[in-house]
Symmetry: D2
Subunit: 228 residues, 4 copies
């Protein structure tokens, strides 16, 4: 079975990772594929332009996963209008730190505001999919009900795709690990701040948290079985 | 005020970060400075040898912080003898993934076992310090009472030092951020898997989570005020 | 200051409870005042008919609280259509236990379903109010973002009104207590399963968790100061 | 199968509660059976004298449960010496409210202090048992690692015995319910503040949270099967 360990492709025995590989107890967690990150516009409140490249590949992966009965959970940031959980409360740190690197973000105050177009999904969200729509900071797990939902569905493996490999995806992978989910991150379906941090985040996942795989290898294994 | 943003030293106005800089509402969180990571022996169950270099610098920083009334919270991994929360339950992921990079870890089963010498502190822990001794996986916050403790002490800023910049420190910084603490990571008092991942983890902190500082700059500011 | 201790009115010194009494750090948490509990119809999926009596008194209290700048947080149960977090997952215990006492509840499967009329508020919810709309079981705090929201607003005292004194209100008061909020339950603005359990739940609050007060006494104290 | 519903014995079909009755996925949670509650002395810092009557019956039940392979998890309150998580932080509410009912508690400041005799177990705790020793307020679940531990052991049913039926036991039963454990409270092995509140707490459990049973009925069923 091919996985990526610290930037290198590696063959590892699937037998060593059986608990990671059963689609019957797996959910796909797709993070923050919404217009607030992906819109190609100077008004985009929290730009993650590199993730635009994976919109269609994520859609294609989700379609295949659904045919195998794997639930898709779409998670996104939504903040209360009025700012009670962010700008009018204790503001998120990234609002001050990220601009130190990229410069001012003119429309950041509009990020994720409930009811605004910025919270609209860009990837396909089907009625049978599951949605978690109150991510407030970086993690998909806190303060949302994602863990509650996954436990109800007796999910034990989570497969991540989506935006900000070195931020929300990595944070969510840490949380999933601490909650004892088996963690897989799909190397070709996540995008980070830039190449170096994306690569480093994947390396961290591969050393500390779980498996880094290509989506086609995971799909092929789910369908045909994983080579021992 | 000097901070590090994506590997570069930068002068930023202290006035922009006033809520980060008050020692009266700050605690230092020192992570996993115990023999199980730091022992210079082939039996060391979870080696983090690079962090040996920061034992004395951390001690020196803690002594200064104590004189300013800043509490030190020492957090470490402790696992129940018998394995109920790890090897005899759902095993931690790193046990299978980290060896893919570094090769077999002969004594890994002994890691953090309650009552064993591997859980002994290497840094100075004084009676007035606070201790959190049931970290079970990577985060200092879950499933421990660290957040409960910090709220009781009305702490709003956390300063991290200690081991595995790209693992437990980064995970704890993510959690602290999501819980809305103001986060500072001390660049000279943390060590990671290797230089590149250590550097990348600090870059992630600096972009998404809070301030990366040198300990001497923080101490000097606490003592003499931060230059606007 | 009048409070109720184990069913008895008592005068206690306000000076002993100063940290409970500042409206500037207080929020009102109004629990489950929706049609799914309150509708006067045989279709009502989870009937709490006794709470109908407090709809208008709660509205009146909220109006006064708003004039004093105290935020109102309305919390309600909402379950995903399709049942992933309840009937099609691990079903809530009350579905099997409550009918042992009251007999079959014909429309229980419709309880709290997202998008259905059963989730509509019965009390007044104004645009400036705050809403938590993903309570999944009994507590207002888990797995919702209520604690996250209150911390962002630097709230330290919570005042409860609403439905099921001996169930969701009591559960939420326990949680608030464990999170170190100062807890007040308004005796005249909560209703339980029946008189004895309502009374017992208030006694438990008064012994273990915080203050049981009449809403008029709290309002009068907020306006005119509490007599020492 | 005999259960208690709102103070009345009732025969219910075991087939309706199969998910509650498998010892292979069950743990016993024994709460706060320590000298700080049970010591027969005027110095006892948080007296729960009625629970002295169940020390031996609890021991007997635990012995039988162990022979069936059911793990016993002993949970107790322990507070840091120095008071950082209680008296020198945000003090627990009961310190001010419980004395309104029972009068001053002279040695309350000594309650649960780490390293003191007041934290010693009174019931038998065997080496193979599991221990959770950082309960800080009322719940066995927060801010402890009890949920983490139970998930690691793939426990889905929790059986409660121990002290303060209407306080820590009830709170823990609420939490277990919200976390979707199947909940059983052993009517003969818990004791509350007094008869009425103990009875009311059991009624609340029976209506909202799970099954109230006699320990002998549960043991007999575990051994011989539950009558349909």
């Amino acid at each position: 079975m091919k996985v990526w360990v610290y930037e290198q492709p590696r063959e590892v025995p699937a037998a060593d990772f059986r608990d990671y590989l059963d689609p019957a107890t797996t959910a796909v967690i797709s993070i923050d594929m919404h217009r607030g990150h992906l819109e190609d516009s100077p008004d985009c409140p929290c730009p993650a332009p590199r993730a635009r490249d994976v919109v269609e590949p994520i859609n294609a992966f989700h379609r295949e996963a659904r045919t195998l009965g794997v639930p898709i959970v779409h998670v996104k940031s939504v903040l209360r209008a009025g700012g009670a959980d962010d700008l009018a409360g204790i503001p998120a740190a990234w609002r001050r730190t990220f601009p130190l690197h990229v410069g001012p973000i003119p429309n950041a105050a509009a990020h994720a505001i409930e009811g605004s177009p910025w919270t609209e999904w860009v990837t396909e969200v089907l009625p049978q999919d599951l949605r978690v729509e109150n991510k407030r900071r970086l993690s998909a797990f806190y303060p949302t009900d994602l863990d509650f939902l996954l436990r109800n569905q007796r999910i034990t493996t989570v497969v991540f795709d989506g935006g900000f490999t070195d931020c929300c995806v990595l944070n969510s992978a840490f949380d999933a690990n601490n909650l004892n989910y088996r963690v897989i991150v799909l190397r070709d379906l996540v995008r980070g701040t830039d190449d170096p941090l994306e690569s480093a985040a994947l390396s961290m996942v591969s050393l500390h948290l779980g498996l880094v795989m290509d989506s086609q290898d995971l799909l092929a294994g789910w369908k045909q079985g994983f080579e021992a």
